[in-house]
Symmetry: none
Subunit: 228 residues, 2 copies
């Protein structure tokens, strides 16, 4: 519903992580704080993030290692490194992996937030959906819960619209079931996934006038909306 921006924070230091996540929260960001790379990997499967802030020095898999994984799986997700020391060699390594920026501790929170806003502005511009979305012969206006085709208008419910919007955001690629459940229903239990199935089925029916438009299932993963 809300267009709050979701940040993944990977930081093993409890007090520092707490302060930073609280501060970011106060600034209106939705923050998920992982204390280890493993935790972060789990979070990535369940949520859609717009930015990752990664501490480098971690026990186990370090920030660099995690970033490499991240870059393979979520190429479009920008990330920033946090580091206690500002070694040039570390920075070069970070940028080489694909880092967006490099911030040294102690962190000036005000500056960090300014950078985050600048970054999100850069990356969100292209990602944001237009008012009207074309899906084959259909036109979908998320703000009005309206789906129309050849003059005929279907009024969608809030849930239907949210799901369709999510599918549109990833048109032509996978919309993870887990992420959809988390984002729309806030739960991933057996009943809720059944409920989601019902919604998918309903959307398919609405979209059945254009045979080019399909919502295909990827077994165990999620759905892909195709429109050609």
């Amino acid at each position: 519903m809300e267009q709050s921006l979701h940040i993944l924070l990977l930081e093993d230091d409890h007090s520092f992580g707490y302060i930073l996540s609280e501060y970011l929260d106060l600034q209106g960001f939705q923050v998920s704080w992982a204390k280890s790379a493993e935790e972060a990997i789990n979070l990535l499967e369940d949520h859609l993030f717009q930015l990752a802030i990664l501490d480098i020095m971690l026990p186990g898999l370090d920030g660099f290692g995690f970033a490499k994984l991240l870059h393979q799986k979520h190429e479009q997700l920008p990330f920033i490194f946090l580091s206690a020391k500002s070694l040039k060699i570390d920075m070069l390594k970070g940028y080489k992996i694909g880092a967006y920026d490099f911030i040294t501790k102690p962190v000036d929170e005000e500056l960090l937030v300014a950078k985050i806003h600048a970054l999100l502005r850069q990356t969100q511009v292209q990602k944001s959906l237009p008012e009207k979305i074309s899906i084959g012969k259909y036109t979908f206006i998320p703000a009005q819960f309206q789906l129309s085709c050849e003059g005929e208008i279907t009024k969608l419910t809030a849930r239907e619209a949210e799901l369709l919007k999510l599918l549109c955001q990833h048109k032509g690629e996978l919309t993870s079931r887990k992420i959809a459940l988390h984002q729309i229903w806030g739960a991933t239990d057996e009943f809720t996934r059944k409920s989601m199935d019902v919604f998918v089925s309903r959307l398919r029916k609405y979209l059945s006038k254009d045979s080019q438009v399909r919502i295909e299932n990827v077994h165990g993963q999620g759905f892909i909306l195709f429109d050609k």
Copy 2:
């Protein structure tokens, strides 16, 4: 692939500007060096840039003023500020205008180039469509779990797609069995490797339309995907 990337450098100091533009030129960038905001405005009309590097302290219209203009006219063009002093207030101002980064003099050229590459990668990735990988006559779109050949589409399962992707990442060289098992299955026991064999076999069948495409085994090591 390295189509020359065009950078607009706005810097009034002759010797510093000369050194920097030469260095960037050596790094394979195409650099247009403007010594005043007016000059830069003219250059903008004649060329397509992928990045602007702006000194802040300039006679006449300063870097901030120019950036505002720039941001209005060329919203997509990312820019970096150069500054002799690192005043927080300046940096906040810069980011607020929409700067991508902020670099203080003296400039570490190596670091600057690393940042530039990171930035360009970021901005290029945004525009890229779902990645398509060519394998001989085949086209593989990992995001769609699809393998197509001469119009015929094969839908892959999540596992199949993961394995094929891994093979593609090392096309022409060894994909270690161990690594694949670890990365995809998370286990390396006897049963799991047998399972992997079945997957390799299935991929071979899918890819059998082009005799140039082969998945060859390296005894005890892993597999190599060839496509010519």
